[in-house]
Amino acid sequence: MGKILEINGPLVKLELPRTVLGEQVRVGRMGLVGEVIGRDGDTALAQLYEDTAGLRPGEMADGLGWPLSVELGPGLLGGIFDGVQRPLQAMRERSGDRIARGVAVPSLPRDTRWHFVPDPQRRAGAVLAGGDVLGTVQETESIRHRILTPPLLHGELLELAPEGDHTVEDVIGRVRLADGRIEKLYLFHRWPVRTPRPFRQRDHAVAPLITGQRILDTFYPLLKGGKAAIPGPFGAGKTMLQQQIARWCNAEIVIYVGCGERGNELTDVLESLPELKDPYTGRPLMERTLLVANTSNMPVVAREASIYVGITLAEYFRDQGYDVVMVADSTSRWAEALREVSGRLGQMPVEEGYPAYLGSRLAAFYERAGRVETLAGDHGSVTLIGAVSPPGGDFSEPVTSHTKEIIQTFWALSKELADARHYPAVDWLESFSGYVKSAAKWWTEHVDPNWESARADALDLLAASEELQRIVNLVGVEALSGEQRWTLEAAGLIKEGLLQQAATDEVDSYASPEKQFALLAALLEIHRQGLTLVKLGAPARKLIQMPLLAQARRWKSQHGSEDLSALKAKIAAIPQAFEPLLLEYASTATPRTMGGA
């Protein structure tokens, strides 16, 4: 038992002998919780997850004997938790609309009874190793929760409960450890959030994460188990893009971490996901989703923790053999929380007030993404997608530049595109993906062997048009050749007919890989047909006036992913639209047919 010596914002100095770094502490009459981040002899420095107003020097303080940990077991899905995994819905029932301090509510519901089905492989007397599946609980209709042996446990299984209903606090089994001690098993276990959960080995990421967003899937793909960042100035669309991914991606579990962002955005997710159907299972999307919310007005220390709580939950589902996606909005707020605490600790800032360890902490965090072979021998993955909010939209600032070195897929959002309401405002020149080769294998196998070359053609066209646009801005469009004008037009067609994809468009909000490729191929075909004509001497002006161009810009919103037959018919008819012009110009240009027409 110790006492408070000093209170300085979220930091408290304690007289608390024999504590260890990272240990949880409970301080003051209100029982506020925090963690030890520094020690000097018998004094310890702790950061508290709750507002310290009203706390006094001299009040008691106590070490709890464990680091910040989360409860892992059935009851997580569909829930919303704060930055230290307190269940916000249950908190609301307990203490009203505002978050009261010192309220302790267990993360997992204690009274729910889950139907446990033991794994037939687990027999009494057999060896039980960390990560082994003890059995399953059908948590939601789409997700079967595998009950895992705590990762560090190893021993002889003495007994395991038969099929039946249990709460998370019921003992479902017992294990004899090597030293003879007996350990009880429950439907849940705890894990410290700052320690990555173990696995057998890392695996190669193989399949792309399909998000239904063309600029992502077709142009800058991400793999399941990969790392991506979405930097962009305010209002550019980071949150919308992450919400789109949370809605439509083909992962089995989605962890949405609102880290220092708006309360209403979480409300939006909470209200909209139960209404939306998973395009792969047909079940309400909320069944596969869980939210971690530390909004910008909630205490800053818990904000720092929220990212780790989120990634630990993600790893836990990975260990059950699932493909998990975690979106973190925004990692900049996490970095700022780090900066705030380091500032109060008087640590030497290196750039823009950030401590020297910013880069290594970021890297260690992203390192927890990946596809792995689990302890139980399954395959699971954690895909990590972090939003970055650079001050003033300047990508050279520390958080963006460090992140850029860590991730493989970079979806750069541009203010210019967002201002013109080109959504998603992903800049096709600034963005990159290191996963194109691997993704190409999948697209070749599942959609079309020409995916990689079509993608490259479209990007070339976009790059060329950027050059041409610069010329136009200097001397006007008249300076361009016919071919160049057509290139400009075709690039415009790709931007409007393919890259633009409004989240609010019910038909086009999600585009299946097949639809994505069909549109891409179609627009490239229009470009090719036109190019042939221009080369034959047809004036670009005539091509640009073709009604087909305006029509093709609407195709994305006219044809949903469920039925592509009508779209494919339109695509098949593209050559017909060019036929009159072809007849006209092919005849004048090709001597052999001169007399014919």
């Binding site: 006094r56 001050p391 003033g392």
Partner: protein
């Protein structure tokens, strides 16, 4: 402890006082200082240990004689007395009456820092508020419970725009009976405060307004309290008395500068431009108090006004604000110089909640597409205007000339309107179609073909 006065001030510097040897003082506690002349000042404990307590003094530490300063720790945070009687009243920046009338008598006193709203308790704002201004209603709609700042600059008519919103704001098809205004000014000039007061008076809402005024010549540090006091009053009106509260606060830049001043004194590590790293969290504590709560009738809609230093939208104050609020209305000097009122620069303006509060069941079915089309067409037209400046308008194609004409008409007739002109959303949308009809229909791909057929007035 409340009743004991200590005379142990050990040092004082620009707003901060260190008290020695007062054990057990609560963090965040309110402090009362009595100086040698018997004048009272108020402060707050920002750091506390048994041997030294750091106090921030809101009226500053000028002319404080440490030997003759008596300090009382009030053992509670700053609280605001609340009752229905606050309507029609004027308070100073820390919530004391400033209209010569008696204090509010009530047992209900609330911590002005509030408590964070549980995200699971929020209700998503979806009700369209008609402001009668096309640039806002048509393209950057406001919804009940939204926080939508006005980004402005010195000499721009942000006060007039804010006052017009207050005068005209209404829900479609609903009486404005349960609608009240909380107005907070910090660092504002007397002229600005008077302008608002008169505007409220003229529109006859003065008895439905609560004002918190910390003007330019009043203590700087007190500004840290003003928005919090105002929002505490707003929360009470909205969530206890069921009012729909429109909160107007001006000028957030003065607030942030006050925060910086204190941060520098405390020796906090600066992040950008000398502003402390916690400016984001601090602003968020203020802005996030707007909103709606499940199963409660009232709402808080927040319109902070801020002037962008050197018209720079990337300056930390507008930047961090934009990262927290649900969009922004940006006023521009260029339009203002051309005599366009309200000079709303629409491209960098944004309302994030618009998408959920407009359209078929809220305004009109074509609204989302029309807004998107206006943005796209205007953005394109501005490119043409840029081009025309280089190569000369004579060189432009016919299509480009039409785009130029559209841009001009759009700025003058759609964005521009009278200060007393209160356009219904239907008038706004019809006007939008009239202007879009200046452009060839095949270039309007953000609206549906059905909408084109119904509303486009031109020939294909």
């Amino acid at each position: 402890m409340k009743n004991v006065e200590f005379r142990t001030a050990a040092s004082a510097q620009g707003g901060l006082v260190v008290m020695a040897g007062v054990p057990g003082v609560a963090a965040g506690s309110r402090v009362q200082l009595r100086d040698h002349a018997g004048r009272l000042r108020s402060g707050q404990v920002i750091r506390t240990a048994d041997d030294a307590v750091l106090v921030e003094v809101f009226e500053g530490t000028d002319a404080l004689d440490l030997e003759r300063t008596w300090v009382r720790f009030l053992d509670e945070p700053f609280k605001l007395p609340l009752s229905r009687d606050i309507l029609g009243r004027v308070f100073n920046g820390s919530g004391r009456p400033a209209d010569g009338r008696p204090p509010i008598i009530t047992a209900d006193r609330r911590d002005i820092n509030g408590e964070p709203l549980n995200p699971a308790a929020r209700a998503y704002p979806r009700e369209f508020i008609q402001t009668g201004m096309s640039a806002i209603d048509g393209m950057n709609s406001l919804t009940r419970g939204q926080k939508l700042p006005i980004f402005s600059g010195g000499g721009l008519p942000h006060n007039r725009v804010a006052a017009q919103i207050v005068r005209q704001a209404k829900l479609l098809g609903e009486e404005a009976a349960d609608f009240v205004v909380v107005f907070a000014a910090f660092g504002a000039s007397h002229a600005d405060a008077r302008f608002f007061q008169e505007s409220f008076e003229e529109s006859g809402v003065l008895n439905k307004v609560v004002m918190f005024l910390n003007l330019a010549d009043e203590p700087v540090i007190e500004r840290l309290l003003t928005p919090r006091a105002a929002l505490t009053a707003a929360e009470y009106l909205a969530f206890d008395l069921d009012y729909h509260v429109l909160v107007v606060m001006t000028d957030m830049t003065a607030y942030a500068e006050a925060l910086r001043e204190v941060a520098v004194l405390r020796g906090d590590v600066p992040a950008r431009k000398g502003y402390p790293g916690y400016l984001y969290s601090d602003l968020a504590e203020i802005y996030e108090r707007a909103g709606r709560i499940k199963n409660r009738r009232g709402s808080i809609t927040l319109i902070p006004v801020l002037s962008m230093p050197s018209d720079d939208i990337t300056h930390p104050i507008p930047d961090l604000t934009g990262y927290i609020t649900e969009g922004q209305i940006v006023l521009g000097r260029e339009l203002a110089n051309q005599g366009v009122y309200p000079p709303v620069t629409v491209l960098p303006s944004l309302s994030r909640l618009m998408k959920d509060g407009i359209g078929k069941n809220f305004t009109r079915e074509d609204h989302p597409h029309v807004a998107s089309q206006l943005f796209a067409s205007y953005a394109k037209a501005l490119e043409v205007r840029g081009l025309a400046a280089i190569i000369g308008a004579e060189e432009l194609s016919d299509a480009d000339r039409r785009a130029l004409a559209f841009a001009d008409a759009f700025e003058r007739r759609f964005i521009g309107q009278g200060e007393d002109e209160d356009r219904s959303i239907h008038e706004t949308l019809n006007l939008a179609w009239e202007l879009l009809s200046m452009l060839p229909p095949e270039t309007l791909i953000r609206v549906s073909e059905a909408e084109l057929a119904k509303y486009h007035k031109g020939k294909a």
